[in-house]
Symmetry: C2
Subunit: 159 residues, 2 copies
């Protein structure tokens, strides 16, 4: 039985419904916020045929041309098989290309195609428009604050 002080915090979305201790959990609020952001951005970039996850892969490849899939998998903590499927879709749509390394022919160096660069630029504009929408509810300095807090919280779980 939740105690009275932990009930009925901000975050209730319906009259008469009690969210118990959920609104006081960082885990709960992070999940709710992530869902809201994901729904909004999926709607916003859906016509460009790129998911939020693909956007971040493209961004990583623009900043680090020649990266290979095992490195990407490690960075995102995904299985290499999972990454392989994502990359196959991006190759199939002509947004990235892959080339065997000369030094070590096991490595497949990845990079954006011109089409990939163009799509990334368009998606980036939409993403940054969304970020500005978030700034509208933040006071000066609060963006830096929330970025810092989130990074520290995530870091608490790096084994």
């Amino acid at each position: 039985m939740p105690d009275p002080v932990s009930r009925r915090r901000n975050g209730a979305r319906a009259a008469g419904v009690d969210f118990g201790r959920l609104p006081g959990y960082i885990g709960y609020q992070v999940r709710q916020t992530q869902s809201a952001i994901f729904r909004d951005i999926s709607r916003s970039i859906g016509d460009l045929g790129v998911t939020p996850g693909e956007f971040s892969l493209l961004t990583m490849l623009e900043a680090n041309p020649g990266l290979n899939s095992v490195t990407l998998a490690r960075l995102y903590r995904l299985d290499k098989a999972t990454l392989s499927l994502s990359l196959k879709r991006l190759v199939g749509r002509g947004l990235i290309r892959t080339e065997r390394s000369e030094q070590d022919r096991r490595y497949h160096a990845l990079q954006l195609t011109p089409a990939g660069r163009k799509v990334l630029a368009r998606v980036t504009r939409r993403i940054e428009k969304q970020e500005r929408a978030m700034d509208a509810v933040l006071k000066p300095g609060e963006r830096e604050q929330v970025l810092d807090l989130l990074q520290r919280i995530a870091g608490a779980f790096d084994r």
Copy 2:
């Protein structure tokens, strides 16, 4: 081409890899943090046979016995068919039970079983242990700060 000041912020997880503008996006950091929390809690409560989403359903039903599935679906912004499947699994495992309302026999009132209450208590202890682990990286007042910031950001997308 990302500008220099937006590069190489805190958040890089690998030497020599450039995350571009990603670490400066709230959307990106919220997703990374959500993933870290989800991985940790899934591992922690896995032996109890309840997912994080199921935990929050059980909590809602403990706080609001008699709630129906359409109300839950609206609160979580999920389709009623999606909720129906989740609830069926919880009924199948004997954690909740459903009873047709006498006033309006279309409604199926949901509530925890004694077994459900017991499992919820155990999961809640693990969840709150995780929350205390997050507190270890936060200074006094910062938990309230991050909860407030996240709620305001999520609220920016309530159409």
